[in-house]
Protein backbone atom coordinates (compact mmCIF):
# COMPACT_ATOMS: atom_id res chain seq x y z
CA UNK A 1 0.00 0.00 0.00
CA UNK A 2 1.12 3.54 -0.57
CA UNK A 3 0.10 6.52 1.45
CA UNK A 4 0.25 10.25 0.78
CA UNK A 5 0.53 12.60 3.76
CA UNK A 6 -0.16 16.33 3.46
CA UNK A 7 2.64 17.96 5.47
CA UNK A 8 1.86 21.20 7.26
CA UNK A 9 4.78 23.53 7.71
CA UNK A 10 5.67 26.92 9.12
CA UNK A 11 8.81 28.95 8.41
CA UNK A 12 10.25 26.03 6.47
CA UNK A 13 9.78 23.51 9.25
CA UNK A 14 7.27 20.64 9.19
CA UNK A 15 4.84 20.85 12.11
CA UNK A 16 4.83 18.29 14.93
CA UNK A 17 1.31 17.18 14.04
CA UNK A 18 2.61 16.07 10.63
CA UNK A 19 5.36 14.01 12.23
CA UNK A 20 2.64 12.10 14.09
CA UNK A 21 0.61 11.65 10.94
CA UNK A 22 3.71 10.21 9.23
CA UNK A 23 3.87 7.59 11.97
CA UNK A 24 0.22 6.73 11.43
CA UNK A 25 0.84 6.54 7.68
CA UNK A 26 3.76 4.19 8.22
CA UNK A 27 1.35 1.63 9.64
CA UNK A 28 -0.46 1.52 6.31
CA UNK A 29 2.34 1.36 3.78
CA UNK A 30 5.01 3.36 1.96
CA UNK A 31 4.80 6.98 2.94
CA UNK A 32 5.07 9.88 0.52
CA UNK A 33 4.87 13.45 1.72
CA UNK A 34 3.13 16.28 -0.10
CA UNK A 35 4.45 19.73 0.70
CA UNK A 36 2.46 22.60 -0.74
CA UNK A 37 3.09 26.29 -0.45
CA UNK A 38 4.93 29.08 -2.09
CA UNK A 39 8.41 30.63 -2.12
CA UNK A 40 11.72 29.76 -0.44
CA UNK A 41 10.05 28.52 2.72
CA UNK A 42 8.18 25.73 0.96
CA UNK A 43 11.41 24.52 -0.61
CA UNK A 44 13.01 24.43 2.83
CA UNK A 45 10.00 22.57 4.15
CA UNK A 46 10.25 20.02 1.37
CA UNK A 47 13.91 19.42 2.11
CA UNK A 48 13.11 19.04 5.79
CA UNK A 49 10.28 16.64 4.97
CA UNK A 50 12.72 14.55 2.99
CA UNK A 51 14.68 14.01 6.19
CA UNK A 52 11.73 12.71 8.19
CA UNK A 53 12.35 9.10 9.13
CA UNK A 54 9.91 6.87 7.26
CA UNK A 55 9.22 9.19 4.33
CA UNK A 56 10.18 7.55 1.02
CA UNK A 57 9.41 10.44 -1.35
CA UNK A 58 8.51 14.11 -1.16
CA UNK A 59 6.27 15.85 -3.66
CA UNK A 60 6.71 19.61 -3.74
CA UNK A 61 3.93 21.80 -5.08
CA UNK A 62 5.19 25.35 -5.23
CA UNK A 63 2.55 27.83 -6.35
CA UNK A 64 1.18 31.09 -5.02
CA UNK A 65 -2.25 29.39 -5.00
CA UNK A 66 -1.10 27.23 -2.09
CA UNK A 67 0.41 30.00 0.02
CA UNK A 68 -2.52 30.07 2.41
CA UNK A 69 -3.60 26.46 1.90
CA UNK A 70 -7.03 27.41 0.60
CA UNK A 71 -9.04 24.20 0.38
CA UNK A 72 -10.45 25.08 -3.05
CA UNK A 73 -6.90 25.05 -4.41
CA UNK A 74 -5.21 22.36 -2.32
CA UNK A 75 -7.94 19.74 -2.68
CA UNK A 76 -7.70 19.51 -6.48
CA UNK A 77 -3.91 19.24 -6.09
CA UNK A 78 -4.30 16.25 -3.82
CA UNK A 79 -7.01 14.70 -5.95
CA UNK A 80 -4.80 15.04 -9.00
CA UNK A 81 -2.10 13.03 -7.25
CA UNK A 82 -4.45 10.60 -5.54
CA UNK A 83 -4.45 8.07 -8.34
CA UNK A 84 -1.20 6.59 -7.14
CA UNK A 85 -2.20 6.17 -3.53
CA UNK A 86 -4.39 3.90 -1.43
CA UNK A 87 -4.67 6.27 1.48
CA UNK A 88 -4.52 10.02 1.89
CA UNK A 89 -3.73 11.28 5.39
CA UNK A 90 -4.15 14.73 6.86
CA UNK A 91 -3.59 16.19 10.32
CA UNK A 92 -6.69 16.74 12.46
CA UNK A 93 -5.81 20.42 12.53
CA UNK A 94 -7.74 23.32 11.10
CA UNK A 95 -5.92 22.93 7.75
CA UNK A 96 -6.35 19.15 7.59
CA UNK A 97 -9.98 19.30 8.69
CA UNK A 98 -10.68 21.94 6.09
CA UNK A 99 -9.05 20.18 3.13
CA UNK A 100 -9.53 16.45 3.74
CA UNK A 101 -13.33 16.23 3.41
CA UNK A 102 -13.21 18.21 0.18
CA UNK A 103 -10.73 15.68 -1.16
CA UNK A 104 -12.88 12.78 0.05
CA UNK A 105 -16.01 14.06 -1.64
CA UNK A 106 -14.15 14.72 -4.87
CA UNK A 107 -13.03 11.07 -4.77
CA UNK A 108 -16.52 9.95 -3.71
CA UNK A 109 -15.25 8.26 -0.56
CA UNK A 110 -16.17 8.63 3.09
CA UNK A 111 -13.64 10.22 5.38
CA UNK A 112 -12.60 8.81 8.72
CA UNK A 113 -12.14 11.80 11.05
CA UNK A 114 -9.78 12.08 14.01
CA UNK A 115 -8.20 8.63 13.80
CA UNK A 116 -6.86 7.46 17.15
CA UNK A 117 -5.37 4.15 16.03
CA UNK A 118 -4.79 2.07 12.92
CA UNK A 119 -6.08 -1.44 13.55
CA UNK A 120 -5.53 -2.69 10.01
CA UNK A 121 -5.47 -1.44 6.45
CA UNK A 122 -9.18 -0.69 6.58
CA UNK A 123 -10.05 -0.53 10.28
CA UNK A 124 -9.52 2.43 12.56
CA UNK A 125 -10.70 3.84 15.89
CA UNK A 126 -12.04 7.31 16.33
CA UNK A 127 -13.78 9.36 19.04
CA UNK A 128 -17.50 10.10 18.91
CA UNK A 129 -19.93 11.93 21.23
CA UNK A 130 -17.30 14.48 22.21
CA UNK A 131 -14.90 11.73 23.19
CA UNK A 132 -17.37 9.99 25.50
CA UNK A 133 -17.16 6.93 23.29
CA UNK A 134 -14.65 5.36 20.91
CA UNK A 135 -15.84 3.69 17.73
CA UNK A 136 -13.98 1.06 15.73
CA UNK A 137 -14.91 1.49 12.06
CA UNK A 138 -14.07 -0.36 8.87
CA UNK A 139 -14.06 1.41 5.56
CA UNK A 140 -15.27 -0.28 2.41
CA UNK A 141 -13.87 2.43 0.14
CA UNK A 142 -10.90 1.46 -2.03
CA UNK A 143 -9.17 4.73 -1.28
CA UNK A 144 -9.05 5.88 2.34
CA UNK A 145 -9.15 9.53 3.35
CA UNK A 146 -8.61 10.36 6.99
CA UNK A 147 -7.58 13.03 9.46
CA UNK A 148 -5.24 11.88 12.21
CA UNK A 149 -5.22 13.03 15.82
CA UNK A 150 -1.62 14.08 16.49
CA UNK A 151 -1.59 13.27 20.19
CA UNK A 152 -2.47 9.63 19.45
CA UNK A 153 0.68 8.80 17.51
CA UNK A 154 4.34 9.22 18.41
CA UNK A 155 6.18 11.75 16.33
CA UNK A 156 8.40 10.31 13.62
CA UNK A 157 12.02 11.40 13.97
CA UNK A 158 12.71 14.61 12.08
CA UNK A 159 16.04 13.33 10.85
CA UNK A 160 17.31 10.04 9.50
CA UNK A 161 15.31 9.98 6.31
CA UNK A 162 16.75 10.68 2.87
CA UNK A 163 13.89 10.86 0.46
CA UNK A 164 13.97 12.44 -2.95
CA UNK A 165 12.08 15.64 -3.67
CA UNK A 166 9.99 15.78 -6.84
CA UNK A 167 7.98 18.61 -8.25
CA UNK A 168 4.26 18.02 -8.34
CA UNK A 169 2.05 19.75 -10.81
CA UNK A 170 -1.08 21.33 -9.44
CA UNK A 171 -4.13 22.98 -10.86
CA UNK A 172 -3.29 26.41 -9.55
CA UNK A 173 -5.93 28.82 -8.32
CA UNK A 174 -9.53 27.67 -8.64
CA UNK A 175 -10.67 31.27 -8.55
CA UNK A 176 -13.36 30.61 -5.94
CA UNK A 177 -11.72 32.11 -2.87
CA UNK A 178 -9.02 34.49 -1.75
CA UNK A 179 -7.10 35.13 1.45
CA UNK A 180 -7.90 38.46 3.07
CA UNK A 181 -5.89 38.47 6.30
CA UNK A 182 -4.89 36.75 9.52
CA UNK A 183 -4.81 37.70 13.16
CA UNK A 184 -2.73 36.08 15.88
CA UNK A 185 -4.65 35.36 19.08
CA UNK A 186 -5.62 38.46 21.01
CA UNK A 187 -3.89 39.16 24.30
CA UNK A 188 -6.91 40.08 26.40
CA UNK A 189 -8.27 37.42 28.66
CA UNK A 190 -10.12 34.84 26.56
CA UNK A 191 -13.58 33.49 27.23
CA UNK A 192 -13.75 30.57 29.60
CA UNK A 193 -15.48 28.04 27.37
CA UNK A 194 -13.21 28.63 24.38
CA UNK A 195 -9.88 29.46 25.99
CA UNK A 196 -6.85 27.35 25.21
CA UNK A 197 -5.64 27.62 28.76
CA UNK A 198 -7.74 27.88 31.93
CA UNK A 199 -6.52 28.59 35.44
CA UNK A 200 -9.11 27.73 38.12
CA UNK A 201 -9.09 28.47 41.81
CA UNK A 202 -10.73 26.56 44.65
CA UNK A 203 -11.98 27.36 48.11
CA UNK A 204 -8.46 26.98 49.52
CA UNK A 205 -7.77 30.49 48.27
CA UNK A 206 -9.67 31.69 51.28
CA UNK A 207 -11.04 35.03 50.16
CA UNK A 208 -12.10 37.02 47.15
CA UNK A 209 -9.05 39.25 47.48
CA UNK A 210 -6.63 36.34 47.63
CA UNK A 211 -8.40 34.55 44.81
CA UNK A 212 -7.71 37.43 42.46
CA UNK A 213 -4.34 38.25 43.92
CA UNK A 214 -3.06 34.72 43.33
CA UNK A 215 -4.97 33.47 40.29
CA UNK A 216 -5.19 36.54 38.02
CA UNK A 217 -1.45 37.12 37.52
CA UNK A 218 -0.91 33.44 36.65
CA UNK A 219 -3.78 33.59 34.18
CA UNK A 220 -2.33 36.75 32.65
CA UNK A 221 1.07 35.13 32.19
CA UNK A 222 -0.48 32.13 30.49
CA UNK A 223 -2.99 34.12 28.45
CA UNK A 224 -5.58 32.05 30.21
CA UNK A 225 -9.23 32.38 31.17
CA UNK A 226 -10.05 32.24 34.88
CA UNK A 227 -12.37 29.62 36.36
CA UNK A 228 -13.42 28.56 39.84
CA UNK A 229 -14.75 25.56 41.72
CA UNK A 230 -18.30 25.51 43.02
CA UNK A 231 -17.04 25.75 46.60
CA UNK A 232 -15.12 28.92 45.77
CA UNK A 233 -18.20 30.42 44.13
CA UNK A 234 -20.47 29.37 47.02
CA UNK A 235 -18.06 31.03 49.43
CA UNK A 236 -18.20 34.23 47.40
CA UNK A 237 -14.53 34.17 46.34
CA UNK A 238 -15.34 34.18 42.64
CA UNK A 239 -18.37 35.22 40.64
CA UNK A 240 -20.95 32.78 39.39
CA UNK A 241 -19.86 32.83 35.77
CA UNK A 242 -16.40 31.56 36.69
CA UNK A 243 -17.81 28.26 37.87
CA UNK A 244 -16.48 25.22 36.07
CA UNK A 245 -18.31 22.00 36.69
CA UNK A 246 -21.40 19.97 36.12
CA UNK A 247 -23.66 22.86 37.03
CA UNK A 248 -21.32 25.53 35.74
CA UNK A 249 -19.38 25.66 32.51
CA UNK A 250 -17.96 22.66 30.69
CA UNK A 251 -14.51 23.41 29.33
CA UNK A 252 -11.97 21.42 27.33
CA UNK A 253 -8.88 23.58 26.97
CA UNK A 254 -5.40 22.44 25.98
CA UNK A 255 -4.23 23.06 29.52
CA UNK A 256 -6.28 23.26 32.70
CA UNK A 257 -4.51 24.41 35.86
CA UNK A 258 -6.45 23.56 39.04
CA UNK A 259 -5.21 25.58 42.00
CA UNK A 260 -6.37 24.49 45.45
CA UNK A 261 -9.17 22.43 43.97
CA UNK A 262 -9.81 19.02 45.52
CA UNK A 263 -11.34 17.52 42.39
CA UNK A 264 -14.85 16.57 43.42
CA UNK A 265 -16.70 14.59 40.76
CA UNK A 266 -18.99 17.47 39.88
CA UNK A 267 -15.98 19.67 39.17
CA UNK A 268 -14.26 16.98 37.12
CA UNK A 269 -17.36 16.69 34.99
CA UNK A 270 -16.68 20.22 33.84
CA UNK A 271 -13.01 19.85 32.84
CA UNK A 272 -12.20 16.16 32.37
CA UNK A 273 -11.77 16.57 28.62
CA UNK A 274 -8.93 19.05 29.01
CA UNK A 275 -5.91 17.80 27.12
CA UNK A 276 -3.48 18.36 29.95
CA UNK A 277 -4.50 18.83 33.56
CA UNK A 278 -2.13 20.46 36.02
CA UNK A 279 -2.99 20.31 39.72
CA UNK A 280 -1.54 22.30 42.59
CA UNK A 281 -2.82 21.22 46.01
CA UNK A 282 -1.43 20.71 49.48
CA UNK A 283 -3.33 17.45 49.98
CA UNK A 284 -1.54 14.69 48.13
CA UNK A 285 -4.62 12.47 48.41
CA UNK A 286 -6.90 14.98 46.76
CA UNK A 287 -8.89 13.24 44.00
CA UNK A 288 -7.68 15.82 41.46
CA UNK A 289 -4.34 14.03 41.40
CA UNK A 290 -6.09 10.95 40.04
CA UNK A 291 -6.73 12.80 36.79
CA UNK A 292 -3.95 15.37 36.71
CA UNK A 293 -1.20 14.76 34.18
CA UNK A 294 1.13 17.02 36.11
CA UNK A 295 0.81 17.46 39.85
CA UNK A 296 2.58 19.60 42.38
CA UNK A 297 1.91 19.00 46.07
CA UNK A 298 2.43 22.00 48.28
CA UNK A 299 1.17 25.34 49.53
CA UNK A 300 -0.47 27.20 46.67
CA UNK A 301 0.34 30.54 48.27
CA UNK A 302 4.03 29.71 47.81
CA UNK A 303 3.86 27.79 44.57
CA UNK A 304 1.63 29.99 42.44
CA UNK A 305 3.39 33.35 42.91
CA UNK A 306 6.70 31.54 42.36
CA UNK A 307 5.36 29.93 39.21
CA UNK A 308 3.96 33.22 37.95
CA UNK A 309 7.27 34.97 38.48
CA UNK A 310 9.22 32.26 36.68
CA UNK A 311 7.03 32.19 33.57
Amino acid sequence: MSVLVLIEHEAGVPKDASLSTVTAAGKLGEVHALVAGSGSEVKQAADAAAKIAGVAKVLLADDAAYEHMLAENVAPLVVGLAGGYDALLFNATSIGKNVAPRVAAMLDVMQISDVLSVESADTFTRPIYAGNAVATVRSSDAKKVMTVRGTAFAKAAATGGSASVEAAAGKGDAGLSSFVGAEVSKSERPELTSAKVVVSGGRALGSSEDFHRVIDPLADKLGAAVGASRAAVDAGYAPNDYQVGQTGKIVAPEVYVAVGISGAIQHLAGMKDSKTIVAINKDEDAPIFQVADLGLVGDLFQIVPDLTAKL
Binding site: Q111, A133, T136, V137, S140, A182, E183, K196, L311
Partner: protein, 249 residues
Protein backbone atom coordinates in the same frame (compact mmCIF):
# COMPACT_ATOMS: atom_id res chain seq x y z
CA UNK B 1 -30.70 35.84 -1.60
CA UNK B 2 -31.91 32.54 -0.23
CA UNK B 3 -30.06 30.82 2.58
CA UNK B 4 -30.18 27.07 3.01
CA UNK B 5 -29.61 25.81 6.56
CA UNK B 6 -29.24 22.04 7.06
CA UNK B 7 -29.93 20.98 10.64
CA UNK B 8 -29.52 17.67 12.44
CA UNK B 9 -31.41 16.06 15.31
CA UNK B 10 -28.86 14.78 17.82
CA UNK B 11 -28.57 13.80 21.47
CA UNK B 12 -29.18 16.86 23.65
CA UNK B 13 -25.83 18.32 24.65
CA UNK B 14 -26.81 18.25 28.34
CA UNK B 15 -27.24 14.49 28.31
CA UNK B 16 -24.28 12.35 29.28
CA UNK B 17 -23.95 9.69 26.54
CA UNK B 18 -23.99 6.14 27.90
CA UNK B 19 -22.17 3.45 25.98
CA UNK B 20 -24.19 0.24 25.73
CA UNK B 21 -22.64 -2.74 27.46
CA UNK B 22 -22.96 -4.89 24.33
CA UNK B 23 -20.64 -2.57 22.41
CA UNK B 24 -23.16 -1.75 19.71
CA UNK B 25 -23.28 1.95 20.34
CA UNK B 26 -24.51 4.76 22.54
CA UNK B 27 -27.85 4.17 24.25
CA UNK B 28 -30.40 6.51 22.71
CA UNK B 29 -33.55 4.95 24.12
CA UNK B 30 -35.62 7.49 26.01
CA UNK B 31 -32.90 10.08 25.65
CA UNK B 32 -33.55 13.77 25.07
CA UNK B 33 -32.83 14.88 21.50
CA UNK B 34 -32.36 18.43 20.26
CA UNK B 35 -30.98 20.42 17.37
CA UNK B 36 -27.21 20.10 17.05
CA UNK B 37 -25.84 23.17 18.87
CA UNK B 38 -23.63 24.19 15.93
CA UNK B 39 -26.70 24.05 13.71
CA UNK B 40 -28.57 26.36 16.09
CA UNK B 41 -25.75 28.82 15.54
CA UNK B 42 -26.14 28.41 11.79
CA UNK B 43 -29.89 29.06 11.96
CA UNK B 44 -29.26 32.11 14.14
CA UNK B 45 -26.70 33.49 11.71
CA UNK B 46 -29.07 32.99 8.80
CA UNK B 47 -31.79 34.89 10.66
CA UNK B 48 -29.41 37.71 11.47
CA UNK B 49 -28.44 37.96 7.80
CA UNK B 50 -32.12 38.17 6.93
CA UNK B 51 -32.73 40.79 9.62
CA UNK B 52 -29.87 42.82 8.16
CA UNK B 53 -31.47 42.60 4.75
CA UNK B 54 -28.78 40.41 3.24
CA UNK B 55 -31.16 37.49 2.71
CA UNK B 56 -34.79 37.17 1.77
CA UNK B 57 -35.67 33.60 2.62
CA UNK B 58 -34.32 30.93 4.93
CA UNK B 59 -34.96 27.30 4.13
CA UNK B 60 -34.17 24.70 6.79
CA UNK B 61 -33.55 21.12 5.72
CA UNK B 62 -32.92 17.95 7.68
CA UNK B 63 -32.03 14.40 6.74
CA UNK B 64 -33.43 12.16 9.42
CA UNK B 65 -36.33 10.27 10.96
CA UNK B 66 -39.90 11.50 11.26
CA UNK B 67 -39.08 13.14 14.59
CA UNK B 68 -36.61 15.43 12.87
CA UNK B 69 -39.75 17.44 12.12
CA UNK B 70 -39.45 18.74 15.69
CA UNK B 71 -35.96 19.96 14.92
CA UNK B 72 -37.15 21.67 11.75
CA UNK B 73 -40.00 23.23 13.67
CA UNK B 74 -37.50 24.68 16.09
CA UNK B 75 -35.67 26.24 13.15
CA UNK B 76 -38.97 27.65 11.89
CA UNK B 77 -39.76 28.98 15.36
CA UNK B 78 -36.40 30.73 15.45
CA UNK B 79 -37.22 32.45 12.18
CA UNK B 80 -36.68 30.16 9.18
CA UNK B 81 -39.40 30.51 6.55
CA UNK B 82 -39.73 27.02 5.17
CA UNK B 83 -38.56 23.52 5.98
CA UNK B 84 -37.80 20.32 4.11
CA UNK B 85 -37.56 16.94 5.79
CA UNK B 86 -35.74 14.26 3.82
CA UNK B 87 -37.04 11.32 5.76
CA UNK B 88 -35.10 8.16 6.47
CA UNK B 89 -34.84 5.99 9.58
CA UNK B 90 -31.31 4.91 8.60
CA UNK B 91 -28.16 6.60 9.82
CA UNK B 92 -26.83 8.66 6.96
CA UNK B 93 -23.14 9.44 6.54
CA UNK B 94 -21.85 12.94 5.73
CA UNK B 95 -21.03 11.91 2.14
CA UNK B 96 -24.63 10.87 1.51
CA UNK B 97 -25.99 13.93 3.33
CA UNK B 98 -23.78 16.12 1.18
CA UNK B 99 -25.15 14.46 -1.97
CA UNK B 100 -28.72 15.03 -0.82
CA UNK B 101 -27.94 18.64 0.05
CA UNK B 102 -26.37 19.12 -3.38
CA UNK B 103 -29.65 17.99 -4.91
CA UNK B 104 -31.57 20.43 -2.70
CA UNK B 105 -29.08 23.15 -3.63
CA UNK B 106 -29.75 22.52 -7.29
CA UNK B 107 -33.48 22.93 -6.70
CA UNK B 108 -33.37 25.87 -4.31
CA UNK B 109 -30.39 27.80 -5.73
CA UNK B 110 -29.37 29.43 -2.42
CA UNK B 111 -26.69 32.07 -2.19
CA UNK B 112 -25.26 30.74 1.06
CA UNK B 113 -25.46 27.33 2.67
CA UNK B 114 -24.87 27.64 6.43
CA UNK B 115 -24.11 24.45 8.36
CA UNK B 116 -22.83 23.61 11.80
CA UNK B 117 -19.17 22.61 11.58
CA UNK B 118 -19.86 19.17 13.05
CA UNK B 119 -22.60 17.15 14.68
CA UNK B 120 -22.01 16.37 18.34
CA UNK B 121 -22.87 12.71 17.86
CA UNK B 122 -20.56 11.58 15.06
CA UNK B 123 -18.12 14.55 15.33
CA UNK B 124 -17.22 14.04 11.65
CA UNK B 125 -16.78 17.69 10.62
CA UNK B 126 -17.16 16.81 6.91
CA UNK B 127 -20.60 17.60 5.53
CA UNK B 128 -20.07 21.25 4.71
CA UNK B 129 -16.72 20.68 3.02
CA UNK B 130 -18.10 17.71 1.04
CA UNK B 131 -21.07 19.73 -0.13
CA UNK B 132 -18.70 22.46 -1.28
CA UNK B 133 -16.67 19.91 -3.25
CA UNK B 134 -19.70 18.27 -4.87
CA UNK B 135 -21.14 21.62 -5.90
CA UNK B 136 -17.77 23.03 -6.92
CA UNK B 137 -18.24 26.00 -4.61
CA UNK B 138 -15.92 27.64 -2.06
CA UNK B 139 -16.03 26.83 1.66
CA UNK B 140 -15.54 28.99 4.76
CA UNK B 141 -15.23 26.58 7.67
CA UNK B 142 -15.20 27.21 11.46
CA UNK B 143 -16.66 30.67 10.96
CA UNK B 144 -16.61 33.15 13.82
CA UNK B 145 -17.79 36.03 11.63
CA UNK B 146 -19.76 36.15 8.38
CA UNK B 147 -20.14 39.30 6.28
CA UNK B 148 -21.87 39.49 2.92
CA UNK B 149 -20.13 41.97 0.62
CA UNK B 150 -21.88 42.24 -2.71
CA UNK B 151 -21.45 38.97 -4.62
CA UNK B 152 -18.92 37.70 -2.13
CA UNK B 153 -19.00 36.62 1.49
CA UNK B 154 -16.12 37.31 3.86
CA UNK B 155 -15.69 34.62 6.45
CA UNK B 156 -13.42 34.96 9.46
CA UNK B 157 -12.35 31.48 10.50
CA UNK B 158 -11.10 30.10 13.78
CA UNK B 159 -7.83 28.36 13.03
CA UNK B 160 -5.06 26.97 15.17
CA UNK B 161 -3.19 29.97 16.44
CA UNK B 162 -5.77 32.64 15.71
CA UNK B 163 -8.15 33.90 13.09
CA UNK B 164 -8.02 33.98 9.31
CA UNK B 165 -10.31 35.81 6.93
CA UNK B 166 -11.14 34.54 3.46
CA UNK B 167 -13.30 35.99 0.74
CA UNK B 168 -15.56 33.55 -1.13
CA UNK B 169 -17.57 34.08 -4.27
CA UNK B 170 -21.23 33.27 -3.91
CA UNK B 171 -22.83 30.80 -3.76
CA UNK B 172 -20.65 29.58 -0.90
CA UNK B 173 -20.77 27.05 1.91
CA UNK B 174 -20.07 28.30 5.45
CA UNK B 175 -19.75 26.09 8.54
CA UNK B 176 -20.21 27.64 11.96
CA UNK B 177 -18.02 27.56 15.02
CA UNK B 178 -19.02 28.27 18.65
CA UNK B 179 -18.12 31.93 18.78
CA UNK B 180 -20.10 33.01 15.73
CA UNK B 181 -23.17 34.01 17.72
CA UNK B 182 -25.41 33.12 20.64
CA UNK B 183 -28.59 31.62 19.26
CA UNK B 184 -31.97 32.94 20.34
CA UNK B 185 -34.36 30.57 22.08
CA UNK B 186 -37.22 29.04 20.15
CA UNK B 187 -40.06 30.26 22.34
CA UNK B 188 -43.22 28.24 22.80
CA UNK B 189 -45.46 30.90 21.17
CA UNK B 190 -43.14 30.86 18.14
CA UNK B 191 -43.19 27.06 18.03
CA UNK B 192 -46.97 27.27 17.88
CA UNK B 193 -46.85 29.86 15.08
CA UNK B 194 -44.32 27.74 13.21
CA UNK B 195 -46.96 25.06 12.70
CA UNK B 196 -48.38 27.20 9.91
CA UNK B 197 -45.08 27.49 8.05
CA UNK B 198 -44.58 25.09 5.13
CA UNK B 199 -42.84 21.79 5.83
CA UNK B 200 -42.22 19.54 2.84
CA UNK B 201 -41.58 15.84 3.26
CA UNK B 202 -39.29 13.96 0.87
CA UNK B 203 -37.19 10.81 0.78
CA UNK B 204 -33.65 10.16 -0.44
CA UNK B 205 -35.13 8.23 -3.35
CA UNK B 206 -36.95 11.40 -4.47
CA UNK B 207 -33.52 12.92 -5.06
CA UNK B 208 -32.03 9.82 -6.59
CA UNK B 209 -29.30 9.55 -3.98
CA UNK B 210 -27.91 6.24 -2.76
CA UNK B 211 -27.40 6.60 0.95
CA UNK B 212 -25.78 3.23 1.67
CA UNK B 213 -22.93 3.71 4.10
CA UNK B 214 -19.24 3.21 3.32
CA UNK B 215 -18.17 2.72 6.93
CA UNK B 216 -19.23 -0.11 9.20
CA UNK B 217 -19.07 0.40 12.93
CA UNK B 218 -17.62 -2.78 14.40
CA UNK B 219 -17.86 -1.76 18.02
CA UNK B 220 -18.30 1.22 20.35
CA UNK B 221 -16.55 1.31 23.70
CA UNK B 222 -15.89 3.66 26.55
CA UNK B 223 -12.69 5.65 26.19
CA UNK B 224 -9.62 4.61 28.15
CA UNK B 225 -9.83 6.07 31.63
CA UNK B 226 -7.69 9.03 32.26
CA UNK B 227 -4.60 7.85 34.12
CA UNK B 228 -2.99 9.67 36.97
CA UNK B 229 0.09 11.46 35.74
CA UNK B 230 3.30 12.40 37.47
CA UNK B 231 3.93 14.38 40.60
CA UNK B 232 6.60 16.97 39.95
CA UNK B 233 9.22 17.94 42.45
CA UNK B 234 9.45 21.68 41.98
CA UNK B 235 8.05 24.81 40.41
CA UNK B 236 10.98 24.84 37.99
CA UNK B 237 9.98 21.44 36.68
CA UNK B 238 6.45 22.67 36.15
CA UNK B 239 7.69 25.72 34.29
CA UNK B 240 9.70 23.46 31.99
CA UNK B 241 6.70 21.25 31.30
CA UNK B 242 4.44 24.22 30.60
CA UNK B 243 7.02 25.41 28.10
CA UNK B 244 6.95 21.98 26.45
CA UNK B 245 3.20 22.24 26.14
CA UNK B 246 3.60 25.51 24.36
CA UNK B 247 1.64 27.59 26.80
CA UNK B 248 4.61 29.35 28.31
CA UNK B 249 7.53 31.08 26.68
Amino acid sequence: MKILVPVKRVIDYNVKPRVKMDGTGVDLTNVKMSMNPFDEIAVEEAIRLKERGAASEIVAVSVGPQKAQDTLRTALAMGADRAILIQTEDEVEPLAVAKLLKAVMDEEQPGIILLGKQAIDDDCNQTGQMLAALSGRPQGTFASKVEVKGDKVEVTREVDGGLETVSLTLPAIVTTDLRLNEPRYASLPNIMKAKTKPMASKTPADYGVDISPRLTTLKVEEPAKRQAGVKLGSVDELVARLKDLGVAK
